[in-house]
C-alpha cells in the first residue's frame, strides 16, 4: 500500500503524466481541483506504523489517560497505567490488603506516627537512585499551595515528614487519621520533578516495572519493560494502551487481533458474541464497584424511611443482573464489598418483595388512590446518564416501581450535566457507582453530615447524629479490630435507614487472548499483575 501511494505521488507530480493527459491545463480546472485534493490527501497520509512491536501486549482502553504523574492522576486509566510506571511505599494486593512495595518494613509507632524503611538499591528509570528524599519531595510537592494537585486535600492530616538517613522516613500526622494509610499508595517521583501542570510531556521518571516510551495524544500510551526492575524484569517486552472509545469497535479490534486484552467498559450484550465468535478467554471476577440509587432526603416523600425501604423492596436486582447485566454483577447489601476487611454480613437486607413494598408505602401514608388502577401513589424523577445500558436499567427500574404504584420519570443527561445536577442536589433519585472503595472511611465522605457538597459527597443531604459519631470514631481509631466493630454498627444503621438503595457490585470482566498467561484480576481493576504476565507461544495465537 505504501509503495502504491509513493507511485501515485510520483506519477501525479511528473511533468510527463500531466502534460500527456492535459490534466493541469487551464481547460480542465475541475480536474486540477481533483488532483489538488488528491495531492493534499496523499501528503497528509502517514506511513502505517507497526502497532505491535514484538513481545508487546496491546490493551484496549475506553478513554485516554489525562495525567500519568501520580501526584495528579485521578481518572481510572491514569491511575492504572501510572501504577505500572511508578512504585509507592505500599501497594494493595489482589485481596485489597496493603503490602510493602518501596518500603521494606513499616511500623505504626503511635496513632499519628508511621515509620518506613525503604528497600536499598532501587533506581528510577533514568538511573538515579530512589531515596527517602524522593519520597519526602513527592508528598511535600503536593502540599505546596500552588501545586494544583487533586490529592492535596487527602494529605491535609499530614503534619511533617522527617527523613532519617537516606532510606528511612517518619510521617507525622496532626491528628489520628486511620484512613491516611491509603495515601502511602501514592506513586513516588524523583526529587525536583516539576509540577505536571507545567507540561504533560515532561512526565517524571518512575521506578516501576514499565517505563514510559511514548504518549501519542488521544491515541495510545506505550510502555517498555524496565530491564533493571528490582522485583524482576517483566516478561512482556512492553505494553501498548490503545484508546478506542467505542466499546463495539474495541470488541471488533479484539476479533481482528489488533487488541489482546480488555478489562471492563464493555456492554454486557457483547460478551455472548465474543464468546461465540472469538477464541477469547473471558472471565468475570468479584469487584468493589458499587452501584446504587441515590436519594434526595430533603424531598418530602423520600425523607420518610418507609418509602426508602419500599423502594429497596420494589427493585428486583436479580432480574436486572440476569437480563441486562448478563450476570456481571452481584446483589449488594451495602457499599463495602465482601472482600473488604470491614464488610459486615449481618446487616438488614431488602430482598425483592413487591407486596412488602406496597405495605410499607401504605404505612408511610401513601396509599394507592385507585388500587391496581393507573393512578400512582406519587411521582418521582430518576436521573441517569445517556449511556445506553444506564437508560435500559432506568427503564427496568421504572417498570418495577410501577408495580408498587410509584411513577418514575426517567431523565437521561450527558455526563457533566447529570453530575452537576447530582452535586447540587437537583434530583429525586439517581443512579451512580462508587469505584475503588478500599477504606471504610469512605462512609464519612458520603454520609457524614459535614460532607454535604462542596465539602464532601453527601449528595442526598443525609443527617444522622449516631452515624456521624460512629464515623468520627472510625476515622480516629487506628486499631483495625476496633474499627471493624465501629463500621459494623455504621453499616447496620445505613442498611436500616437506606440513604442509598444498594443495587449491585459490578464484576470485573477480563477479555484476553488465551495465550496470555499469568494475569491476576484485582477487585479494584488495578493492572499491576501485567508485570508478571507472559505470552504462551507467539503473541498472535
Amino acid at each position: 500500500m505504501r509503495k502504491l501511494t509513493d507511485h501515485i505521488k510520483r506519477a501525479i507530480v511528473s511533468q510527463n503524466f500531466s502534460s500527456r493527459f492535459g490534466l493541469l491545463s487551464r481547460h480542465n480546472p475541475y480536474l486540477s481541483f481533483f488532483l489538488l485534493l488528491l495531492v493534499l490527501f496523499l501528503a497528509s497520509c502517514r506511513p502505517s506504523t507497526d502497532d505491535r512491536p514484538p513481545g508487546y501486549l496491546i490493551a484496549g482502553i475506553e478513554s485516554y489517560p489525562l495525567q500519568l504523574d501520580p501526584r495528579y492522576a485521578t481518572d481510572a486509566n491514569s491511575v492504572r497505567i501510572g501504577n505500572l510506571v511508578y512504585n509507592s511505599l505500599l501497594r494493595a494486593d489482589e485481596k485489597s490488603e496493603l503490602r510493602p512495595e518501596l518500603a521494606e518494613h513499616w511500623r505504626v509507632i503511635d496513632d499519628r506516627t508511621y515509620v518506613f524503611d525503604l528497600r536499598q538499591g532501587i533506581t528510577f528509570h533514568d538511573g538515579q537512585p530512589l531515596t527517602a528524599a524522593d519520597v519526602k519531595f513527592t508528598y511535600e510537592s503536593i502540599l505546596q499551595p500552588d501545586s494544583r494537585s487533586p490529592k492535596r486535600g487527602l494529605l491535609k492530616p499530614l503534619q511533617s515528614i522527617e527523613q532519617i538517613g537516606s532510606h528511612q522516613l517518619k510521617f507525622r500526622l496532626s491528628l489520628p487519621h486511620a484512613p491516611f494509610v491509603e495515601q502511602f499508595t501514592l506513586g513516588v517521583v524523583p526529587a525536583g520533578s516539576p509540577p505536571s501542570h507545567d507540561a504533560r510531556h515532561r512526565i517524571p521518571a518512575g521506578s516501576g516495572p514499565f517505563m514510559l516510551a511514548s504518549m501519542e495524544s488521544g491515541e495510545k500510551v506505550t510502555l517498555r519493560a524496565n530491564p533493571n526492575y528490582w522485583d524482576g524484569k517483566p516478561q512482556l517486552a512492553g505494553l501498548v494502551f490503545r484508546n478506542v472509545p467505542d466499546a463495539m469497535v474495541r470488541v471488533l479490534e479484539f476479533k481482528k487481533g489488533a487488541i489482546d486484552f480488555m478489562q471492563n467498559d464493555l456492554e454486557p450484550d457483547m460478551l455472548p458474541w465474543l464468546d461465540q465468535h472469538t477464541n477469547a478467554d473471558i472471565g468475570s471476577y468479584d469487584g468493589t464497584t458499587f452501584q446504587y440509587i441515590g436519594i434526595n432526603l430533603t424531598h418530602h416523600v423520600l425523607r420518610n424511611v418507609k418509602v426508602r425501604q419500599a423502594l429497596a423492596c420494589a427493585v428486583d436486582r436479580e432480574r436486572i443482573i440476569r437480563h441486562l447485566l448478563k450476570g456481571i454483577g452481584t446483589k449488594a447489601n451495602g457499599l463495602l464489598a465482601p472482600i473488604n476487611w470491614a464488610y459486615d454480613d449481618s446487616v438488614q437486607r431488602w430482598p425483592y418483595d413487591p407486596t412488602r413494598a406496597k405495605r410499607l408505602l401504605d404505612e408511610a401514608g401513601f396509599a394507592d388512590p385507585d388500587g391496581d388502577g393507573p393512578l400512582p401513589r406519587f411521582r418521582l424523577s430518576f436521573k441517569t446518564t445517556n449511556i445506553d445500558l444506564r437508560r435500559r436499567i432506568a427503564e427496568a427500574l421504572k417498570e418495577q416501581l410501577q408495580q408498587v404504584g410509584i411513577e418514575l420519570e426517567v431523565r437521561s443527561y450527558e455526563w457533566a450535566t447529570f453530575f452537576s445536577d447530582v452535586k447540587k442536589g437537583n434530583f429525586h433519585l439517581y443512579s451512580l457507582a462508587w469505584v475503588g472503595v478500599m477504606d471504610p472511611d469512605v462512609f464519612h465522605q458520603i454520609f457524614h453530615s459535614a460532607s454535604v457538597p462542596p465539602n464532601g459527597d453527601n449528595r442526598g443531604r443525609y443527617h444522622n447524629a449516631d452515624l456521624d459519631r460512629l464515623l468520627d470514631q472510625g476515622r480516629n481509631t487506628i486499631d483495625r479490630t476496633r474499627r471493624k466493630v465501629v463500621y459494623a454498627q455504621a453499616q447496620k444503621i445505613l442498611a436500616e435507614d437506606l440513604p442509598y438503595v444498594p443495587l449491585w457490585w459490578w464484576k470485573n470482566v477480563i477479555v484476553k487472548k488465551p495465550s496470555i498467561e499469568g494475569f491476576v484480576p484485582y477487585p479494584d481493576g488495578d493492572l499491576i499483575s501485567l508485570q508478571k504476565v507472559s505470552w504462551r507461544g507467539t503473541p498472535s495465537t
Partner: protein, 307 residues
C-alpha cells in the same frame, strides 16, 4: 476584484467573532464545572475555590470574555485545563488527521458523485439513473454511527481487507472517509445529475453538437463545466458538515482528530480547548467559503466581482 476580496477578508472577522462568542457563552452556561473534574471527588472546597481563582473562573463572565479576546488578539488560545499544554499545540497536533479525513471524504464524494451523476444523466430513466437515485437516498438516510460499524464488520472482520480503526497508512482512511463522505456524495450526485440534465437542454449544448464536436468534448467542455457552479456551492457548504460529522466518525473510528478532541473537551468542560477547537472549525468553514468564491471565478470566467 481585489477590493471585493479585501472586503470578504474583513467580513471573516465578525463571522469568527460571532462564532467564538456563541461558543464562549454556551460552554459557560451549560452545567458542569471543570474544577470538579480537575480536582476530583476528594478535594476540599478551599482547594477548589483556590483553583477556580487561579484559573480566573471566579471572575464575572464578561471579564473572562474580555481577557479571552485580548489573549486571542495576541494569538494566544490559552492552555488546556487537563493536557497542560497550549491549546494551539494540541490542535496543531490533531489538525492534520482531521484535514486528511475531510479531504479524503470529499475526494471520495466527488469521485463517486461525478461518476454516478454523469452516467445517470447520460442514460436518464435507465437502471443506472434509478440506482443513482437509490444511492442518493441511502446516502442521505444512513447515519454515520450505524454505517461505520457496518462497514467495519463487512470490510474488516468478514473480508479482512481493511483495518478496523485508528490512523495509519492509506488503508486506515478508507472506511472513515467513506462513512463521512457518503452523505456528501449523495447530495452531490443529486445536484450534479439535475444540473447536467438542465444544461443538456441549453441552446449552447445543441450548438456545440451542431458544430460537430465529439460527445466527449460536449460533456467535458460545455455541460460538466457549466453544471459545476452549483456543485461547488454545495461542496463548500457541505465541507462544514464534513467537519461537524467528523465528531461522530472520528469517535467511532478512533481517529485522533479535532472532532474527537472537541467531544472529549466538552465532556471534561475544558473551556479553552473547546473554544480553540470551535474557532478552528469555524475558521476552516469560512475560509473554504472564501476559496469557493475564488473558484467560481476560475470555473466561470464570466463572473466578475465588480464594486
Amino acid at each position: 476584484m481585489k477590493r471585493y476580496f479585501i472586503h470578504r477578508l474583513l467580513l471573516l472577522l465578525p463571522t469568527l467573532l460571532g462564532a467564538i462568542t456563541l461558543v464562549f457563552v454556551l460552554i459557560h452556561l451549560i452545567p458542569g464545572d471543570p474544577v470538579d473534574v480537575m480536582l476530583g471527588e476528594t478535594a476540599g472546597a478551599a482547594d477548589k475555590a483556590e483553583l477556580r481563582r487561579s484559573l480566573g473562573f471566579d471572575q464575572p463572565l464578561a471579564t473572562q470574555y474580555r481577557s479571552f479576546l485580548v489573549n486571542l488578539a495576541f494569538g494566544n488560545l490559552g492552555r488546556s485545563l487537563y493536557e497542560q499544554t497550549s491549546v494551539a499545540t494540541i490542535i496543531s497536533a490533531r489538525l492534520p488527521a482531521t484535514m486528511q479525513l475531510a479531504l479524503c471524504a470529499m475526494l471520495m464524494a466527488v469521485l463517486i458523485s461525478f461518476l454516478l451523476a454523469t452516467m445517470a444523466a447520460k442514460r436518464r430513466g435507465g437502471w443506472i439513473d434509478r440506482s443513482a437515485l437509490v444511492f442518493s437516498l441511502l446516502g442521505l438516510s444512513l447515519p454515520n454511527f450505524w454505517l461505520g460499524p457496518l462497514l467495519m464488520i463487512l470490510f474488516s472482520i468478514q473480508l479482512g481487507w481493511l483495518p478496523v480503526s485508528g490512523r495509519g497508512g492509506l488503508s486506515h482512511v478508507v472506511l472513515p472517509a467513506f462513512t463521512l463522505g457518503l452523505g456528501m456524495a449523495a447530495i452531490l450526485t443529486r445536484i450534479l445529475r439535475a444540473s447536467l440534465l438542465h444544461v443538456s437542454r441549453e441552446d449552447y449544448v445543441q450548438t456545440a453538437r451542431a458544430k460537430g464536436l465529439s460527445e466527449r468534448q460536449v460533456w467535458l467542455k460545455h455541460m460538466l463545466r457549466n453544471a459545476l457552479l452549483s456543485v461547488i456551492t454545495i461542496m463548500s457548504l457541505q465541507f462544514g458538515s464534513l467537519l461537524a460529522g467528523s465528531l461522530i466518525t472520528e469517535t467511532i473510528f478512533s481517529w485522533p482528530g479535532i472532532g474527537r478532541l472537541t467531544v472529549q473537551a466538552i465532556q471534561t468542560r475544558d473551556y479553552p480547548l473547546v473554544q480553540g477547537c470551535i474557532l478552528v472549525i469555524a475558521a476552516s468553514y469560512v475560509l473554504i467559503n472564501f476559496l469557493t468564491d475564488i473558484l467560481y471565478k476560475i470555473v466561470d470566467p464570466r463572473i466578475t466581482y465588480a464594486k
